[in-house]
Structures are given as structure tokens and as C-alpha cells.
């Protein structure tokens, strides 16, 4: 038998504490990220059972889903949301956990601040009560989302009962054309795999096009692994990874850094490692992507038209398409670049990092938001991203173009705070889910890259960024 291992095999093996007869493993967790929505019931459970956190130093907590993106000094207006954020603050105080609260400049979306602080490191197991925890896999870590019962389990034991997934390699070969971003790559992957294509697998993203991405681009790709059904997505460690980590508050330094680097450089799939499934994509043919339906797999090129359910042979699929088109208020055959938008949202844990804001600002610079666009907003992923953007003057570019420049948080990605779509409103959004009602009941979401969202704001409809003059 070959001893060659995949990256996932290595990460898994390094964290197994013990194995049950049926293969269920007790897996050790290095980093536990916590936010206000999925944790209160877990802390409550801990309290009722008279338990306390196993290793408090593994935890970093932050409120992000419910926080207002406008004037923070007024606090949270919604009393129910306010209580939830307050509950996180109280739990962190009671159990002595690190929290970046709403007044902390390091506050932001949990999946943005982990890497930003160096709290996400290669070779770690990272969990959070949030499906987009897959983001952290970009660092060669095993990172996945868990439910609230599992949050409580990790709090109490530092471990999780897990069944090993299968190995999948998604290789994006060659080079993407200019203007095509990490978001387009991952949407194209989901279009190919389908939203359940990765179910039961841990996906490693590889190939030249992935290697060529910055850490932020890799995070965007891994972020959406869950939209292909895979609980974990990951990218092998290389010098890009290591360069990004060095000097961050939580990352090692001195001798430990040298020791860590030696280990980190082993975090890749060995030559000859066997994957249960391998999928290849040709990077050179990927174009900017736009979703047209209510599932991220319902995605096409900007140059395409809205597809026709009558042309779909699978009956269940065709019915799904019809329901989606009815909800989205779209007719088959409509050119994507003729679809007008009412709102534009640039933000979320997929696309709210500094490079995303730079890309969008480049497109917006010198233009004005179109008259038919009621609201175009930019929500940085963290207080530190916001600060950096302001140092670079990006805020001014956005504001001059007519965008609103907001405080960090999840915002209109899921509309738990005041930022939301009204029924029937159509939005170009850089987030990761276009489910029914995701951005507000009756709201219609089209997922795009930051550059494509900015272009849609300027034109008032989707447009190929290549054609923007």
C-alpha cells in the first residue's frame, strides 16, 4: 500500500485522539471561533451541566451577524439582537474568553478576523458554529462549520466526534483571463460540481490558477466550498501562505516560527496521493460569473442568457429551475447583462477583505452609481480592513461614486440587522448565498465578484467589466 497521503489525510491523522470501532474518531480542535448567533445555547448547556471550557485560550469570540453597520455609538436598536450580542459579551466575561466586542477596532466578521489576527494557522483544526468556517482551509488547515451542540461539545472537551470524509481534488489548471477573480473561479467550480457535488468530501483546491491566487483569493475560494456541499475546503501551504502569516498578533515568532515553518512546509498532498474523486477545470475559459437562481449552482457567464427549464431533462431539476425563475422574476432567454439591479452589496466573509475593496474601488473610481440603483453599500470585513481602506483613500472613492461606506459586520449577507432587501428588490451581491429570502424576505440575490458588483452599481445592470469604459 502506498504511504502517500493527501493534505486532508495528514491534517486528520495529526488530530485523532482515539477511534471507535466503527471508525468514528475523536478529533482534537486547535482553534474555536465563536459568534453570537450559534453560541448562546451552547454556553447555556455548559452552565446547566456545571462544565467549563476545556481550553479557554483556543477561543476567539466576536459579534458579527447582528451588529449595526451604521453609527455604532447608538448601540443596537433591535432589543432581541441586542440581548444576543450582550449574551455573548456576558458569556465571554463569565468564562474568561477573548472577545473583540463591538467597540473593539479588531471586531469584524469571524472568518475575516481569524486569519487577520494570525489566529488561523496551517496545520490547525479550526471550527466555528458557522458553515463558512471552510474559509480557514485556505491556510492548509482543516476547518469546518459545526452546529450548536457541537459548539458545546468543543467547549467542554476540546474535541469533536467525526467521521472522515472522502478526498476530492479540484484542480483549476492554467491561467485565468484578466478580470477573472477568485470569486469567478469558485462560482465556476460550483456550477460544475453542483451544490451537493461535494457532499461527503473534503475538497483540496489545487492547480496553477489556485497557486497563483493571493491568500485572500484562496480564502474566497475555500469560503464557498460549503456551497458545493463540502464541509471543508483547503489549499496546500506554500510561501504565499507563510508570508501572509508572519508578523500577525497570534502567529509564532523566533525559534517557534522556524520550527513551525518546517512543519507547515509538509502540509501538501504527497506525490502519488490518491483522491477518491478528481475534477479538472480549465482556468483559461472561465469568465466573470453571475448567478441567476436561488442556489449557487444556478450560475452562468456574464455573456450568457437565463437558462430554459424546458431544455433540462431531469424533471426534479427542471421544477427547481421553474421555482427559482418565478421567485427571481426572470424569463428564460433574458441576456444576463440586461438584468437591472436595485441594490448593490459589497461585503461578507467571501469578499470584504482589503483586496476585494481595492478591486471594487478600481472599477468605481471616477464613476457615479446609476440612478436606478437605490442603495449601493460597501461593508468592510473588519475594523482593521476598514482602517486600511481609509488609509488608502478607498472610502473616498466609494463615497464620491455614491456608495455608502459602513461599519464592519455580516450586514446584508444575511440581513439579520437592519440592512436588507425589500420584497422583489434585486441585488448584485458579493456574498455567498442566493437562497430565497436570504437578503430579506422576497429579495432577489445575484452572486458576483466585487468588481462585477461595482460595475453593476455604475451601469445599473450587470455588465462585463471588460466592456466598462
Amino acid at each position: 500500500m502506498s504511504t502517500a497521503k493527501t493534505l486532508y489525510d495528514k491534517l486528520w491523522d495529526d488530530h485523532v485522539v482515539r477511534v471507535e470501532e466503527d471508525g468514528t474518531a475523536l478529533l482534537y480542535i486547535d482553534r474555536h471561533l465563536v459568534h453570537e448567533v450559534t453560541s448562546p445555547q451552547a454556553f447555556e448547556g455548559l452552565r446547566i451541566a456545571g462544565r467549563s471550557p476545556w481550553r479557554s485560550s483556543s477561543i476567539v469570540a466576536v459579534p458579527d451577524h447582528n451588529v449595526p453597520t451604521t453609527d455604532r455609538r447608538k448601540g443596537i436598536q433591535d432589543p432581541v439582537a441586542k440581548l444576543q450580542v450582550q449574551t455573548l459579551d456576558d458569556n465571554c466575561k463569565e468564562f474568561g474568553l477573548t472577545e473583540f466586542d463591538m467597540s473593539d477596532e479588531r471586531q469584524g466578521i469571524v472568518h475575516v478576523i481569524g486569519p487577520e489576527q494570525g489566529a488561523t494557522l496551517p496545520g490547525m483544526t479550526v471550527v466555528c458554529g458557522d458553515s463558512h468556517t471552510s474559509t480557514h482551509g485556505a491556510f492548509g488547515a482543516l476547518a469546518f462549520g459545526i452546529g450548536t451542540s457541537e459548539v458545546e461539545h468543543v467547549l467542554a472537551t476540546q474535541c469533536l466526534m467525526q467521521n472522515k470524509s472522502l478526498n476530492m481534488l479540484v484542480s483549476v489548471d492554467g491561467e485565468v483571463p484578466p478580470g477573472v477573480t477568485a470569486k469567478d473561479i469558485v462560482l465556476a467550480i460550483i456550477g460544475k460540481l453542483g451544490t451537493a457535488g461535494g457532499t461527503g468530501y473534503a475538497i483540496e483546491f489545487g492547480g496553477d490558477a489556485i497557486r497563483a491566487l493571493s491568500m485572500e483569493g484562496r480564502m474566497t475560494v475555500c469560503n464557498m466550498a460549503i456551497e458545493a456541499g463540502a464541509r471543508a475546503g483547503m489549499v496546500a501551504v506554500d510561501e504565499t501562505t507563510i508570508d501572509y502569516i508572519i508578523g500577525r498578533p497570534y502567529s509564532p515568532d523566533g525559534e517557534q516560527l522556524e520550527q513551525a515553518k518546517t512543519y507547515w512546509r509538509t502540509l501538501h498532498s504527497d506525490d502519488g496521493a490518491v483522491f477518491d474523486k478528481v475534477v479538472h477545470l480549465d482556468a483559461s475559459v472561465i469568465k466573470p460569473q453571475v448567478t441567476w437562481g436561488t442556489s449557487p449552482e444556478m450560475v452562468v457567464d456574464i455573456s450568457a442568457v437565463v437558462p430554459d427549464p424546458d431544455a433540462e431533462s431531469d424533471k426534479v431539476k427542471a421544477d427547481g429551475m421553474r421555482k427559482a425563475l418565478a421567485y427571481m422574476g426572470l424569463e428564460p432567454g433574458t441576456p444576463i447583462d440586461e438584468i437591472a439591479v436595485d441594490k448593490v452589496f459589497i461585503g461578507s466573509c467571501t469578499n470584504s477583505r482589503i483586496e476585494d475593496l481595492r478591486e471594487a474601488s478600481k472599477v468605481a473610481q471616477g464613476f457615479k452609481v446609476a440612478d436606478n440603483v437605490k442603495l449601493a453599500m460597501v461593508v468592510p470585513g473588519s475594523g482593521l480592513v476598514k482602517k486600511q481602506a481609509e488609509v488608502e483613500g478607498l472610502d473616498k472613492i466609494f463615497i464620491e461614486a455614491g456608495f455608502e461606506w459602513r461599519e464592519p459586520g455580516c450586514s446584508m449577507c444575511l440581513a439579520m440587522n437592519a440592512d436588507r432587501l425589500e420584497p422583489g428588490e434585486r441585488c448584485a451581491s458579493t456574498s455567498n448565498r442566493n437562497f430565497e429570502g436570504r437578503q430579506g424576505q422576497g429579495g432577489r440575490t445575484h452572486l458576483v465578484s466585487p468588481a462585477m458588483a461595482a460595475a453593476a452599481a455604475i451601469k445599473g445592470h450587470f455588465t462585463d467589466i471588460d466592456k466598462l469604459d
Binding site: T38, T148, S149, T199, P252, L414, M416
Partner: protein
């Protein structure tokens, strides 16, 4: 956790693929810091014609008469029949709490999203994955016999209809054991506390920067 051994109940058909957890329980209800009370808001956007919220009384709201769970006898259903990739999207366990609180004890579908699948076991809600063809057949049976009842036997790992076994399903031994006995898996894990400590000690030697 609730014990699950055998259960017989009315089946409600939800005939669409990729039912996501946002649909099962919309985000506004996630502001609650409790584990219970989500049942009246399960599938809220489909179940009501007006918008609901954590501070809105459901009693005065406009019911969507076309939605299956608003129709008798499906409002009494305890088994949900669904299509592939059920429970995809957000990790919110609130989705399982909402189904449980509505009265569901089992969900049958060709496939489930991983996180939802895990969350279900933690709450005594049994997710049963059956072949797409079998699920198709069940949808047919449900449409032919109004208020059809199915029986689920976890011990035997079977689904039966009027005494006839129509399918058997797979489940990990460990999960089955926990569910049959209603075990608290935190207590189970803590029985291995010494192993966890040993692991930590070793890891502190090989990867000290993690501590």
C-alpha cells in the same frame, strides 16, 4: 437527547430539492438565545403570507393555504419526505430545533447536507437517506394515499408501510447506539479525558506554538 427506537406517523411530502436551512428557519428567528419555541416558525416564509419575526405573534398572521404543512392531516405529520441535498446552507442547528419543535421525528430524503445531518443526531431527529428511486416511490405513495403513515424502526434500520418493509437504511453504529439510548455525547467524550490530555501533552512537544 431524546431516545429514538421506533416511530410511526403521518408523512408530509416537501417536493423540492436543495431545501436550505434558511428556508427551514429564516434568520430573524436566530436572534433567540433559547433552544425551543421555533416550531411555529418552521418554514416561515412558505408557511405564512406575511412577514414574521421573533416579536410577532403567529396567531394573527395570514396562513398560506397552499403550503403542505398548513393542510390537514399534514399539519400533524411527524415524518418529512424531501428531495436531495436537504438541509444545505447555514450550519444553524435552529433548523433541527424547528423541525423537532414542529413535531417531526424523522426526515427521509435521497441525500442530506453534512452539517444538518450531524445536527439532527444531536437532537434525536433521525435523518434517513434512501435511494432516489425509493424516495420517488414514496412521493407517489403519499400522493395516492392521503395521510399515509410510515413506520421507522431504528433498531432494525427499516422503513415500512402498512406492515410491509419497503426499504432499509444505513447508519453508523456509534450514532445508532447514542440515539437508541439517548446518550449525551459530551459525557461520553469526557470518559476519555485522559486520552485528550495525553494528546495535548504530545502536541505541546511537537507544535508548541499552538498552545
Amino acid at each position: 437527547m431524546q431516545i429514538f427506537t421506533r416511530h410511526t406517523g403521518i408523512v408530509a411530502p416537501l417536493d423540492r430539492p436543495n431545501v436550505d436551512t434558511d428556508a427551514i428557519i429564516p434568520k430573524q428567528f436566530l436572534k433567540s438565545i433559547k433552544r425551543s419555541g421555533f416550531g411555529p416558525n418552521a418554514f416561515d416564509d412558505w408557511r405564512y403570507l406575511d412577514e414574521g419575526g421573533p416579536d410577532i405573534e403567529n396567531a394573527g398572521r395570514r396562513i398560506n393555504p397552499d403550503f403542505i404543512l398548513n393542510q390537514s392531516p399534514f399539519d400533524q405529520a411527524t415524518i418529512l419526505l424531501a428531495r436531495e441535498n436537504f438541509g444545505c446552507g447555514s450550519s444553524r442547528e435552529h433548523a433541527v430545533w424547528a423541525l423537532d419543535d414542529f413535531g417531526f421525528r424523522a426526515v427521509i430524503a435521497p441525500s442530506f447536507a453534512d452539517i444538518f445531518f450531524n445536527n439532527s443526531f444531536k437532537n434525536g431527529l433521525l435523518p434517513i437517506a434512501l435511494d432516489a428511486a425509493v424516495v420517488d416511490d414514496l412521493f407517489k405513495r403519499v400522493s395516492e394515499t392521503h395521510g399515509l403513515e410510515l413506520s421507522v424502526d431504528l433498531e432494525a434500520q427499516t422503513v415500512s408501510c402498512e406492515g410491509e418493509t419497503i426499504a432499509s437504511f444505513e447508519i453508523d453504529d456509534f450514532r445508532k447506539h447514542c440515539m437508541l439510548n439517548g446518550l449525551d455525547d459530551i459525557a461520553l467524550t469526557l470518559q476519555h479525558a485522559d486520552k485528550i490530555k495525553n494528546y495535548e501533552d504530545k502536541r505541546k512537544q511537537t507544535a508548541p506554538w499552538l498552545f
